[in-house]
């Protein structure tokens, strides 16, 4: 662990929020982020100091819209949600219990969530169905992160489910796949946190369903609609990533002994380290840039710039990169397509395809 502290420098370890944890599952192959997260480096600060702040932060308009929609779904003891779940899951009429965990005051929310879930799991009386504003915790590489879901966990037939309320639109039963994927990753974090809590309390973690309920506004109206989303895959990736973060030794191997992401802050915490030097240190750890990074990782602008300068095919997205198997530079791909570059051993097939694609393109343009 000492090596990780050296990587981080004197700043306190940065806690992970649900979005950061969800992002782990978004780009699992990236060593740069795995290492930064494991060391508890504040990626946002680093990116700012490098001059590449992430374009995050939703607009105030979007945040307000999200809050209004969430309030609508939850008002009157989750009356709208009840209707949806009666339709979607056949939630029985009798199951309407509602507990607002936040009523106990914020300092008790975590322990109260625990107590309520324990009681529900033990007694299985089926009355307390919804837990609004629960507070979960999750250990990330030795640090406890608290998760404040905008979700409601509820119990039906002895099983708990996570509800994720999102304000992106559902049009004719369809939502943008990327947005659904992001919501699924985030919900998976909550499923994992609740499963961990269940195991901790001595209950069967499998009682937390891997099907989460996604609630979105339908057809431009504010009327909510619900769908089940299976997050098994996201869970598996997430678990693997978290395990990987606790076994970062392999990532640390082969890195220079004196490598550090330390910002060398002055007494007021203002970074004093030259940005070039810090960038140089980061470049020693391989990244795996993909366009998804733009919506998930604080380092995205820096890594995108790096990939661009390298002419990396990563910029084109994972699918295309994988199709280009083994060709990692755009100049290389273009050279192969135009025949100005001889395919290396094992590249014959991809070179043939690229040339074919190039010819089709020419024909289509003429």
């Amino acid at each position: 662990m000492n090596r990780l502290e050296e990587l981080r420098g004197p700043m306190p370890s940065h806690p992970h929020d649900a979005r950061a944890i969800a992002a782990l599952a978004a780009n699992p192959g990236c060593a740069r982020r795995a290492l930064m997260d494991a060391a508890g480096v504040d990626k946002d600060r680093v990116a700012r100091h490098l001059g590449f702040p992430a374009p995050f932060g939703q607009s105030q308009f979007a945040i307000t819209r999200g809050n209004v929609f969430e309030a609508l779904v939850k008002e009157n003891g989750c009356a709208e949600l009840l209707r949806l779940l009666r339709e979607l899951l056949g939630l029985p009429i009798a199951q309407v219990g509602y507990q607002d965990v936040e009523s106990v005051g914020s300092h008790l929310r975590h322990s109260h969530t625990r107590a309520l879930i324990d009681r529900a799991a033990r007694e299985d009386d089926g009355t307390a169905v919804f837990y609004d504003h629960p507070l979960f915790s999750l250990e990330i590489a030795g640090h406890t992160s608290y998760l404040e879901p905008d979700v409601v966990a509820f119990q039906i037939g002895g099983r708990f489910r996570i509800v994720e309320i999102k304000s992106f639109g559902l049009i004719d039963g369809q939502a943008e796949p990327e947005k659904v994927a992001a919501a699924a990753r985030q919900a998976a974090v909550y499923v994992l946190a609740l499963r961990t809590l269940m195991a901790d309390l001595g209950h069967d973690p499998e009682r937390v369903s891997h099907d989460v309920v996604l609630v979105c506004p339908e057809n431009f109206a504010n009327r909510p609609a619900a769908a089940l989303v299976d997050v098994r895959k996201q869970l598996a990736v997430l678990k693997r990533q978290l395990a990987r973060m606790t076994r970062v030794d392999r990532l640390l191997e082969g890195l220079p002994r004196d490598l550090t992401f330390d910002l060398v802050p002055d007494p007021d915490g203002v970074p004093t380290r030259p940005a070039d030097e810090l960038a140089g240190a980061l470049r020693q750890v391989p990244a795996r840039y993909a366009p998804d990074c733009l919506s998930t990782c604080d380092m995205c602008m820096f890594c995108r710039d790096e990939a661009r300068c390298d002419g990396s095919t990563d910029l084109l997205g994972r699918q295309i990169r994988d199709q280009l198997g083994g060709v990692s530079r755009m100049t290389e791909a273009l050279g192969l397509a135009e025949g100005t570059l001889e395919p290396a051993e094992g590249q014959e097939e991809i070179a043939r395809l690229l040339r074919l694609a190039d010819r089709l393109r020419e024909e289509a343009l003429n």
């Binding site: 008002e75 209707r83 009798a94 936040e102 009523s103």
Partner: protein, 259 residues
């Protein structure tokens, strides 16, 4: 009538002109007496016009005349159960055509508590909190101190029971009105959509059907909810001093003791 109104208006216009002239000529005492005449004329005009017009509908004037506290109390009396600021605003708007903003309600509970602490039971009622089964104030719900203690506490089923009850009360109130306001019908329809069998799709709700459907679901929850509420109310009576019976226990020690 309108003739005298016209005459009064002419007189008012003349008086205004004379006042201006007197002020300009620095004839202060004349100006003062003319102003007195003007005020009297305007008062006479006010009386004449209200005598002629039918009494104004409860529309605009009400909004500024009734204090917020009274408006909230009336809405609560109509609903009869602990209610969120949002629904209070909606009911107030739908039935009484009064405009209240949610933000105007935020400090209400705190003000009431302060008033109760400094001079307990001085008012006939207080706008107070609903209490959770941990005896803490339920977030965002307002109640009426004159209600039975069982009504002011919440078990896990109570939010639903209270939602069904308020839907029924709104529907009942609608059946009593000769001309049910459109806004109130819309409010009922929206609420009824979340009750099985209360309304057909997006059609406007029929109050009688809504009452029947809400009543049917209420039957399912009533016994369990009553038992839970009675138990919580008994603990409130046993464990809390007067102020906290109305406004909830907020200290950690009380909460710890209650769990």
């Amino acid at each position: 009538m309108s003739e005298s109104l016209d005459a009064l208006e002419r007189r008012i216009a003349e008086l205004r002109a004379e006042v201006r002239r007197a002020v300009k000529a620095k004839e202060n005492s004349l100006a003062r007496s003319l102003r007195g005449d003007l005020r009297r004329a305007e008062k006479a005009w006010d009386e004449a016009i209200t005598a002629e017009e039918p009494p104004p509908k409860l529309r605009e004037p009400e909004a500024s005349l009734l204090p917020i506290r009274e408006q909230v109390h009336q809405a609560l009396a109509l609903l009869g159960v602990p209610t969120s600021a949002k629904l209070i605003v909606a009911v107030n708007d739908a039935f009484f055509s009064r405009e209240l903003r949610g933000s105007q309600l935020t400090s209400l509970r705190r003000d009431e508590e302060r008033s109760f602490r400094s001079d307990p039971y001085a008012r006939p009622y207080y706008l107070c909190a609903a209490l959770t089964d941990r005896l803490s104030p339920a977030r965002g719900l307002l109640a009426d101190s004159s209600w039975a203690p069982e009504l002011r506490v919440l078990g896990p089923l109570s939010p639903r029971v209270d939602f069904l009850t308020s839907t029924m009360r709104i529907a009942e109130h609608l059946t009593r009105l000769a001309e049910p306001p459109m806004g109130a019908l819309r409010l009922l329809s929206r609420m009824a959509q979340n009750i099985p069998g209360a309304v057909e799709g997006f059609a406007p709700a029929d109050p009688a059907t809504a009452i029947r459907a809400a009543g049917a679901e209420l039957e399912v929850h009533r016994a369990a909810d009553t038992a839970q509420r009675t138990e919580v109310a008994a603990r409130v009576a046993r464990q809390l001093p007067d102020v906290e019976r109305l406004f909830g226990a907020a200290t950690m020690s009380t909460l710890r003791g209650a769990c």
